[in-house]
């Protein structure tokens, strides 16, 4: 690897949070002191054995890590690749997100803060945050677009049962990006007492690197599990990309393995050509959103354009800055996957393996099926692919039931 390639050794980001031309801090001055405090707490924690021990114990005893690496033989036969599913869907709360919230909740405690706030789209990160807040006895407020609180009433109820306050956001497009704006406004006003428990590897430095560090266990585990299982590293590692935390989590351990191809699959919605999608790298351009420079869906004036995806968890008009950098350096490849292809893969996994995946993760499955023939042709054999199955589909049963027309009429 050339020296300017991002590496798992911690060379990126730089001290100010830049991944090449991306990342950094585009925030009100009022937040800088809190971001510096967080930066200190994170760097200290990363080098502190007692923190790492406590975090590892939580992941093992509470979240269920390490998650399994499962050879999905019937799926493999269908798509022409040896597919190893990283079963993050089996974690407590049903997705990789629990790793991030546990890490940040521990940091919150260390900083002596008693209150956490979070943004959520479909409610998964909100539920995960409310879960960690209950476990750590923290006050928890979750901002959620008013459109989403209606679409995801069950997750709103979950958060409330866990003791969180859910605030419907009625400004702007009333979805995830507006929930994020509102969380930032809360943070500016309450920064002394409050930690903003951001849900993905985006936002101002140190969030993108900090979140990556808390979810990188996915890839660390998968790398060793793959070596144990097949005696070699995989030919490719794949994941879906919205904000991008599950993808960074599984990619990170492989960045310095030149033989391992990294693929991120973005939400292509109705197709990138239609304008109705959430593929920020494929269909966006460099800009500043939510405190960081990255690829953004925007108009010529820099106004954020609304994203579209059947998957609420990928429905965001930006992407973590490290992905923007991995794209620019060519270390990872990003491709869009349409709603229709993702839903076909959703059904395929249900029927071949008896696993109902999250619609987010179904994008990774569909993308993997699409690249399998290319990889096989290149390698002259069946490729070994680790697919990050980032979440389970329980939350999507209603959406999928409507999509496939399998709900009984009332």
């Amino acid at each position: 690897m050339s020296v300017d390639t991002p590496a798992a050794t911690g060379r990126y980001p730089d001290a100010a949070g830049h991944f090449g031309r991306f990342g950094g801090r585009f925030v009100p001055e009022a937040l800088v002191a809190a971001l510096d405090e967080l930066d200190d707490a994170w760097r200290t924690a990363m080098g502190d054995e007692s923190f790492q021990t406590e975090f590892a114990a939580l992941l093992r005893d509470y979240a269920g890590a390490p998650s399994l690496l499962y050879p999905a033989r019937r799926l493999s036969a269908k798509i022409g690749a040896q597919v190893l599913l990283k079963r993050e869907d089996l974690n407590h709360t049903g997705a990789h997100k629990v790793r991030n919230v546990l890490g940040q909740a521990l940091l919150t405690k260390r900083m002596g803060k008693r209150r956490v706030i979070a943004e959520t789209g479909a409610g998964q990160h909100g539920v995960a945050t409310a879960t960690a807040a209950a476990l750590f006895d923290l006050e928890c407020v979750v901002y959620m677009g008013a459109v989403d609180t209606q679409r995801q009433a069950l997750n709103v109820a979950r958060m409330r049962m866990l003791g969180a306050t859910v605030v419907p956001v009625t400004t702007g497009s009333r979805t995830l990006k507006d929930a994020m704006n509102e969380a930032m406004r809360d943070w500016v006003a309450n920064v002394d007492s409050t930690h903003y428990l951001i849900g993905t590897a985006a936002g101002p430095h140190p969030f993108p690197a900090l979140v990556r560090d808390f979810v990188r266990g996915i890839g660390d585990e998968a790398r060793q599990q793959c070596l144990d299982l097949v005696g070699a590293l995989p030919d490719a590692v794949t994941a879906c990309v919205g904000g991008g935390s599950n993808a960074l989590g599984v990619f990170h351990a492989f960045v310095d393995d030149p033989g391992v191809r990294l693929y991120g699959f973005e939400a292509g919605g109705d197709g990138p050509a239609t304008g109705r999608h959430a593929a920020s790298i494929t269909g966006g351009s460099s800009g500043v959103l939510h405190g960081t420079r990255t690829y953004v869906l925007q108009d010529a004036d820099g106004q954020t354009v609304e994203s579209h995806s059947i998957s609420a968890g990928l429905d965001y008009p930006g992407v973590g800055p490290e992905h923007a950098w991995l794209h620019d350096t060519g270390r990872a490849t990003y491709r869009p996957v349409t709603d229709a292809d993702a839903m076909a893969a959703f059904e395929l996994l249900c029927r071949t393996e008896g696993i109902i995946p999250a619609i987010e993760s179904s994008h990774a499955l569909a993308g993997t099926a699409a690249i399998a023939p290319e990889l096989a042709a290149e390698l002259g054999r069946e490729p070994v692919v680790v697919v990050n199955l980032s979440g389970r589909g329980d939350k999507d049963v209603h959406t999928a039931g409507e999509y496939f027309g399998v709900l009984d009429k009332e």
């Binding site: 100010a16 009100p28 800088v32 406004r185 800009g287 939510h290």
Partner: protein, 267 residues
């Protein structure tokens, strides 16, 4: 010295503070916003702050968010903002522009600085651009002789406050409270402390904003700051009015009250 500096010097000589009034460009319409800003100047607002509407204004409270949404829904473009600045600058009042960073980055930093200077704008207030990330803007503002107003906050460390002020030109914006824009009932105890911290490291004038909405509050802010920055309370005059003419009347009344406030500084 910039035109903003001249306004601050004149006010200082008169023993009062400068009144800065903020209005989003294109709210409620392009022509309506020119009429509103002109009315503000006529009623005694010294400096007009034109905010470029942005889809994701994280430093702004509900009033400016609503006004920005209305302007954007009306189709206002960054190019319209430059036209508005040109029209308001023609009144003779200095015009400073407040903008989140992405619209400038997409327009092109150098091109925007060039066109802003040509339109008669004095400089930029940048709520989400800190000097740490501002290399391009530092160069462009030098090239076209524009002022740079970065924000300082009660939470700024001494080192950051000094660094930020060193990168300012024209005036320094002191955010009176930890929070977003919007009038507050109670005065901020943090503001006088912050202003004196800024004064300890610079001779630049210091404007205080966030939470000021009445003549009495303007007078209190004028007691310790060189400039009093009012936004949401003025914008609300138009938001709450049944018609634009009624809104302009309310806007003139509040502007007059605030102008009297900055002329009667209270301790």
């Amino acid at each position: 010295m910039s035109r903003i500096g001249v306004a601050f010097d004149r006010a200082r000589a008169e023993g009062r503070a400068v009144l800065v009034g903020c209005m989003p460009a294109g709210f409620p319409t392009v022509e309506g916003s020119i009429a509103a800003m002109t009315a503000m100047v006529e009623a005694g607002v010294d400096v007009i702050e034109v905010e470029i509407p942005y889809s994701d204004p994280v430093m702004d409270g509900p009033v400016i968010q609503r006004a920005s949404d209305i302007a954007l829904a009306g189709g206002v473009r960054v190019a319209d903002t430059l036209r508005i600045i040109d029209a308001v600058a023609a009144t003779g009042a200095p015009v400073v522009t407040m903008t989140y960073w992405n619209p400038i980055e997409q327009y092109g930093v150098d091109a925007f600085a060039r066109d802003l200077a040509a339109a008669g704008g004095t400089g930029l207030i940048t709520p989400d651009l800190i000097p740490d990330e501002a290399q391009e803007w530092l160069a462009a503002s030098d090239a076209y002789g524009l002022d740079r107003t970065f924000l300082v906050s009660p939470s700024s460390t001494d080192a950051r406050l000094q660094m930020t002020v060193e990168h300012c030109r024209g005036f320094v914006y002191a955010t009176a409270i930890m929070g977003v824009t919007g009038a507050r009932a109670r005065a901020s105890a943090a503001a006088p402390v912050l202003v004196s911290r800024v004064r300890a490291v610079t001779d630049l004038p210091v404007g205080v904003g966030l939470g000021i909405g009445t003549g009495e509050q303007a007078g209190m802010a004028a007691g310790f700051a060189d400039g009093v920055i009012v936004g949401s309370a003025l914008i609300r005059c138009l938001l709450d009015a049944a018609s634009l003419p009624a809104g302009l009347t309310a806007l003139r009344e509040l502007s007059t009250e605030l102008a009297a406030g900055v002329r009667t500084p209270t301790a």
